[in-house]
């Protein structure tokens, strides 16, 4: 399987300010994109911890609250040990938030998990077979339910799951929301010169100015994947 990854910060922001995370393990066949919410602080760290927890198999949809606890403890340990001004302490008290979409490929099947507005697309012969968890571009807004780094924020959190069958030659795309909204609306994605294309989409206001993350997974055309 072939994995290509792009991480592009919001226009006007530096690489250090990018708050998404992309993680994968070809050995475990697990792939994830997480999107840290800009209204919270230390969201990139939270997004990274979530994406890594998923790809290492430590985040299960049916045991989510339980599985999140050690990840939350890791986040808290990292941020609470710092000497911070009042506003950062207030952000730490509230916690960080992130969307997560994860994909696991197993024998003939795939399994996906999602919370928030990061998306997965399953493509065969250039046709979109499945969009998950958002299927209508109108569903994207700026108030999604996201995974909080404080357990008290997650009482109403729902994680969605989806299973499907894959075939040799299929493609899977994992995206953060701004790119996913454009893809779902216009079914457009230019992999060649991707960075320049993203810049153009932003300039033409066809894409919201936000961090862009893309994981492109191409399954081999022959059955021995």
């Amino acid at each position: 399987m072939e994995v290509s990854v792009f991480r592009i910060p919001k226009a006007g922001s530096t690489r250090a300010e990018y708050e998404d995370a992309v993680a994968w393990s070809t050995r475990r066949r697990r792939f994830a994109v997480a999107d840290g919410a800009s209204a919270s602080a230390f969201a990139r760290l939270w997004a990274e911890l979530l994406a890594r927890a998923y790809t290492s198999g430590k985040l299960r949809a049916d045991h989510l609250q339980e599985d999140l606890a050690p990840v939350q403890a890791q986040w808290a340990h990292a941020v609470e040990s710092r000497d911070l001004p009042w506003y950062a302490l207030e952000q730490v008290r509230r916690g960080a938030f992130a969307a997560l979409v994860g994909l696991t490929i197993s024998h003939e099947k795939w399994h996906a998990l999602a919370a928030g507005d990061s998306c997965l697309f399953h493509i065969r012969d250039g046709e979109l077979l499945q969009a998950f968890p958002i299927t209508d571009p109108e569903e994207f807004d700026n108030r999604p339910f996201l995974i909080g780094s404080r357990a008290t924020s997650n009482t109403e959190l729902t994680v969605r799951t989806l299973d499907g069958q894959w075939q040799p030659g299929d493609t899977f795309l994992l995206m953060s929301d701004a790119l996913a909204a454009l893809f779902l609306r216009d079914k457009r994605l230019e992999m060649h010169g991707f960075r320049a294309w993203v810049r153009r989409m932003r300039t033409e206001r066809l894409m919201r100015n936000d961090d862009v993350s893309l994981l492109h997974l191409a399954l081999p055309a022959h059955a021995a994947a």
Binding site: A39, P85, W86, Y87, Q91, R94, G116, E156
Partner: protein
Amino acid sequence: MAYQADISRANPGCFLFLLDQSGSMADSFSGTAGHSKADQLATIINRLLASLVIRCSKDEGVRDYFDVGVIGYGARVASALNTGNGPIVPISRLADQPLRVEDRVQKVPDGAGGLVEQSVKFPVWVDPQAEGGTPMTEAFKHGKDALDCWVQQHKTGFPPIVFNITDGEATDGDPSGAATALRTLGTEDGTALLFNVHLSERRAPAVEFPSSDELLPDSFARRLFGMSSQLPPHLQAAARQEGYAVDEGTRGFVFNADAASVIQFLDIGTRPANLR
């Protein structure tokens, strides 16, 4: 379309707060014992400023998404901040220069249906003050002067948002004309938005973002409503997302209520639904 400009560090937004610090603010607020309108005003403004700062606070510090000014009016009309450097300062300067930071106790949901007490940081920039008349007309003129300069320097920016927090009783004539003059200031993205927050000693129910003055209890409230800007469509949609019942006539006016939600109406990125 107006009111669509991205708010970013390269293109910051601007908040100007006008605070009634007149003698009448020493009267009690909405019948509550022990709390004056001046106390209530100080709580509201300090909370508004804190939510603005927190909204801009990131891993590396506070990003200058906004410029902020606070003008008090009572015995005199002057900046109520001790940050120096003119009436309007970048939010990061405000963040680093509160008068003090208090520890207060707040009840927050424990995640299991109950409440738990948590210590929160409460920065104070403005202490309660109540002295002299209510030169509201003068305050609007002062505000217009301060913003004149800002809009010249930020021609493509989101237009300034002005909050006037008062008990409504101007003593230097009808402020409506000065308010209109202030609302005509603008950038290429639209004219300045004026929000009025009316604090009253009346035990009348709170009113938030009404579209008519029918439910307002007195002539002061109706006049302030009349001076308030209509919410542009973009902010109407954001207000609706925050759970307010708004329509095309909705104005930026609240009676005996907090107004911190207005800050959340402005889009500077994703705000999770479960971030309270």
